[in-house]
């Protein structure tokens, strides 16, 4: 079956190559390429879903050996429960995005190379699947690099835009920084176990000394963290995700950054151990908390819809890492059951975030498709022009704000429970870390809700702020269907958490570091945590209650007030004749109180320019520009950049240009080698 999936992903790649030549000639063939390519991607994704479910439910790992003659040992594809879970996430989102692309890619027909898009798209999906299915370091790195390269080209798809080119360049540099560290990590593992195969890394006989384990840990954290977008390695994310076409952004934000999480979980809980030092968990928690708070704060300042969503991805990666970090911390203190609960919460959030972030990006793509602008300050009133997009975007917004009864609430609830239970451990650093993490998790949840009130409210509600918004048309059926299916998943994963928990429980039980399961007991629609004296929540009943109880106000209204009489009167415009769209709140104004409260983090500067060249009879032109300082660019990357360039300049002096000097270097090296390598 896996062979079939792999082939299925390759076939459209071949189709793409065949159709490559057809760059400038529109026509039926382009449309055919599009439909064929995305439908095959859809079919392959569905096959991937089936494959992952079968592994998750049965527990038998998939093992396919690949015979080849490269000297790295037998390469194998090995899919255990962890791989299958991530494969499921990839496939689910890819299926929805493929359906979406059928409609979305129409706007590229005739303008750009459709075949290239289809080719790269399928190759991207193939490489992501390959990353989670690999059981061998070399294969892993091959697919990892494939993932990075295909996304580089995809970000550059609209290459006339200099912002896109810059974003792609930044992305490729950062991702190779991460990949370099991954190579180092795998080489260290190889030198201690004698093999590149993941099975050897997992072998208990080859336990590494603690210092080496810490180096591997750090390499994995930074290497995978760059891909996941943790602070301070996040600078490529807000540039790259908006620049790519929206269906690709959905995949990148929803799925690709989870590959970083996959790598981290694989290394931390599968390869390393059994004695985990405490500072690992504390470090990950610090990274998690910083990423989530700073991510959402920066998101609040954005008024480019896709950049806003990209920063939110950073925030949610932080929330996922709170679960992972908590798991590491509890495992280091020997409490396996608690560690498995924390990891379960983190992995649940992986699925949830993929679902609602995918949905939100698809919605943003819909908006972009309809209005040709990402700037929410120019939008408004879209709830009437794009009713379906608005509704599904709202579902995504409610889900990401962790409001019951949708899926975001469930994973945050689980994270809270894991952290609360952790407080009872008798270690001082845990006792200080846990309340702070809980408080900051609450803070990010509330700030995320604020940000999405802004995003949804300014984009969809109120009056249109420009002609583009006033003349927007609803998206095509395939786009709506894709968004609807992801919205449905948000609801399903929210009110039936049992589906996901019953899959995740054996998963965390199977990892060596957290080998306990049964931390979450399911009874009907209810989740119960026995360890915590029966804290429980039943989202299904909750949802049902809310729906049932709505009868009360309706009944009260009829009984006490009779039939509702409604009259339409324009909004009060403070005494002026007509309400203008410009009287509404702007996105910048909406987030001003938060900007002032957290002014030390933002250090915003604003510039007001009043041009008085116009006639004295008319109002002058006033421009207001607000800039928030990017702390990490200024204080981390620019000094690092200056140091590197500076030292490179110093080293450049050994390249004098004289050929005699170079010959002298060769001679010197030869002499030294002869002296010391006898």
């Amino acid at each position: 079956m896996s062979a079939g999936y792999v082939l299925g992903a390759l076939l459209p790649a071949l189709t793409g190559i065949l159709g490559w030549g057809r760059v400038k000639s529109p026509g039926a063939l382009d449309g055919l390429v599009k439909n064929l390519g995305f439908t095959i991607a859809l079919a392959s994704s569905l096959a991937g879903c089936v494959l992952s479910l079968s592994i998750l439910l049965s527990g038998d790992p998939l093992h396919v050996e690949i015979q080849q003659s490269l000297p790295f040992g037998t390469m194998a594809l090995h899919a255990d429960r962890l791989s299958a879970f991530f494969l499921g996430v990839i496939s689910l989102i890819a299926a929805a995005v493929s359906v979406y692309s059928l409609g979305y890619a129409k706007e590229f027909l005739g303008r750009r190379n459709m075949a290239l898009l289809v080719f790269l798209y399928n190759l991207f999906l193939l490489s992501m699947a390959g990353v989670v299915l690999s059981g061998h370091a070399f294969l892993f790195l091959f697919f990892w690099e494939g993932m990075s390269l295909t996304t580089y080209f995809l970000i550059n798809y609209e290459h006339e835009d200099p912002a896109a080119r810059r974003a792609a360049y930044l992305y490729v540099v950062m991702t190779h920084l991460g990949t370099a560290l991954l190579v180092v990590m795998f080489v260290i593992l190889f030198s201690h176990t004698g093999s590149f195969s993941f099975g050897a890394f997992r072998d208990p006989g080859s336990r590494l000394p603690t210092a080496v384990q810490s180096i591997v840990f750090l390499c994995a954290t930074i290497g995978f963290g760059v891909k996941a977008g943790i602070i301070p390695f996040h600078i490529w994310l807000p540039e790259a995700h908006p620049a790519a076409p929206s269906n690709i952004s959905a995949l990148m934000s929803g799925v690709m950054i989870k590959m970083g999480i996959y790598g981290m979980v694989r290394v931390y809980f599968d390869f390393l151990g059994p004695d985990i030092p405490e500072w690992w968990g504390i470090l990950i928690l610090i990274v998690a908390v910083t990423s989530s708070v700073l991510g959402v704060l920066y998101a609040l300042m954005e008024h480019d819809l896709k950049r806003l969503l990209a920063f939110h991805s950073i925030e949610n990666i932080g929330i996922i890492l709170m679960g992972v970090g908590g798991a590491l911390l509890f495992a280091s203190l020997g409490n396996r059951p608690l560690a498995s609960l924390a990891l379960l919460a983190g992995l649940y959030h992986v699925l949830n975030h993929a679902t609602f972030k995918g949905l939100l990006f698809l919605g943003a793509g819909s908006v972009l498709h309809a209005t040709h602008t990402r700037n929410i300050e120019e939008l408004g009133g879209l709830v009437k022009r794009l009713p379906w997009t608005a509704f599904f975007f709202l579902v995504g917004a409610v889900a990401i704000s962790a409001l019951p009864p949708l899926n975001g609430f469930v994973s945050e609830w689980l994270t809270f429970q894991a952290l609360l239970l952790g407080f009872h451990l008798s270690d001082l650093s845990v006792k200080i870390a846990v309340p702070l993490t809980v408080a900051l998790l609450a803070l990010t949840g509330a700030l995320a809700a604020a940000c999405f009130v802004k995003a949804f409210g300014i984009t969809f509600l109120g009056l249109p702020r420009s002609d583009r918004a006033a003349s927007a048309q609803e998206s095509s059926f395939s786009m709506i269907a894709a968004m609807g299916s992801l919205a449905l998943l948000c609801v399903v994963f929210g009110i039936a958490p049992g589906l996901v928990v019953s899959v995740l429980d054996p998963l965390v039980g199977s990892l060596p570091a957290t080998s306990a399961s049964g931390q979450v007991v399911l009874k009907g629609g209810m989740m119960l945590i026995p360890q915590s004296n029966s804290s429980s929540v039943s989202p299904l009943v909750l949802c049902g209650l809310i729906i049932a109880v709505t009868l009360v106000p309706i009944a009260a209204g009829y009984l006490l007030g009779g039939r509702m009489r409604r009259r339409a009167v324009m909004t009060w415009a403070c005494g002026l004749q007509k309400i203008e769209p410009r009287m509404q709140y702007t996105a910048t104004g909406f987030s001003k109180p938060i900007r002032m409260i957290f002014s030390n983090i933002f250090r915003a500067t604003h510039e007001i320019e009043i041009s008085d060249e116009t006639s004295p009879y008319f109002r002058p032109d006033i421009t207001y520009e607000l800039k928030t300082e990017s702390l990490f660019l200024k204080y981390l990357y620019e000094p690092a950049y200056r140091i590197i360039i500076g030292s490179a300049r110093i080293f450049r002096r050994i390249q004098t240009g004289h050929i005699q000097t170079y010959l002298a270097y060769i001679f010197l090296t030869l002499v030294l080698l002869l002296l010391f390598a006898r």
Partner: protein
């Protein structure tokens, strides 16, 4: 209490109790504030008459508004009622405690707030945006303080299940005077004042642009929509007072279904809530509303109070 009819009956009792008593609590607070200001003030039953009047009135809806505007009053009312079903009022264990714990309660309030803030932006008026922006900003700094106060209460019981928290406290009455609890109680009290929009954070009686937060978001509502929103705010205050009194001083709660026990439970509930309501009114009357950017300082005091409780009593000490 695992038999279904008892659960249904008790839940209905709780629902009706909160539904019916919420306007009364508002009335008491209003009357107390009026007496402080040396005037007669409206009667304590006035909110009932106001709600009845609003329910009969015609609803005026702006053509700019969308289905979000029209459905939010029902959603907020329903979610607040569901919260009323989850909190301990008269009986412990709460019949529906397995449906949601204290974290669920906090996030259900957040759900209502999310939609009311959206309504502020829905009608295209500047006041709505103003209210929504201020409300969401203040809400985001209330949440950490609230979560930490709840955390302190949950840590003693070892669970976030509301019945367990109440039961653990009522089994050792002396621990109600535990300084950690008193500190967490004061923290949660400040959070209550902030969350329900009372002075010194927000003025529930004003409609001046400079000072309104919650009122600004619902400015465009009229008729029965406004009735539902007002009623929900009143219920929110009642629920918070119930949480404050029963999470920290759960005296007199019924543990059986005996009619006498239920009567005592109701009486205890009313007594505690009325005392707290009077305290709220006194605090409102003796303080001035804070400037918007001073509110984070107040909430930081609430945060610190809960943090102190944790530090002194759980982290390093016994």
């Amino acid at each position: 209490m695992s038999d279904v009819p008892a659960i249904v009956l008790l839940s209905l009792l709780q629902l009706l109790l909160v539904l019916a008593s919420a306007p009364l609590i508002s009335g008491i607070i209003g009357k107390t504030k009026a007496r402080f200001q040396n005037r007669q003030g409206a009667g304590i039953l006035q909110p009932y008459f106001d709600l009845a009047k609003l329910l009969r009135k015609e609803v005026v809806v702006s053509p700019v508004a969308s289905w979000v505007f029209r459905s939010t009053p029902y959603l907020v009312f329903a979610s607040t009622l569901v919260i009323a079903l989850l909190v301990p009022t008269v009986v412990v264990p709460v019949p529906l405690d397995w449906v949601g714990d204290i974290i669920t309660v906090i996030y259900l309030f957040a759900l209502g707030r999310f939609f009311v803030a959206l309504v502020g932006l829905d009608t295209g008026s500047a006041f709505g945006g103003l209210g929504a922006s201020r409300e969401m900003s203040i809400a985001s700094i209330i949440e950490p303080a609230m979560m930490l106060a709840i955390f302190t209460a949950a840590v003693t019981a070892g669970s976030t299940n509301l019945s367990v928290i109440v039961a653990t406290l009522s089994s050792t009455p002396a621990s109600m005077l535990n300084p950690a609890h008193l500190l967490a109680f004061s923290g949660l009290f400040i959070v209550t004042m902030a969350e329900t929009g009372r002075i010194p954070v927000d003025n529930p009686d004003t409609h001046l642009e400079l000072t309104m937060i919650h009122e600004a978001m619902i400015l465009e509502y009229s008729g029965r929509y406004l009735a539902f929103i007002e009623w929900s705010s009143q219920m929110k205050l009642a629920i918070f007072l119930a949480l404050l009194s029963n999470m920290f001083f759960p005296v007199g709660m019924a543990t059986t279904l005996a009619p006498w026990a239920l009567f005592v439970g109701c009486a205890a509930f009313f007594a505690k809530v009325i005392v707290l309501a009077a305290i709220v009114a006194v605090v409102e009357s003796t303080n001035a509303k804070l400037r918007l950017f001073r509110v984070p300082e107040l909430l930081m005091v609430a945060f610190i109070l809960s943090l102190l409780a944790l530090i002194l009593y759980f982290i390093v000490g016994a």
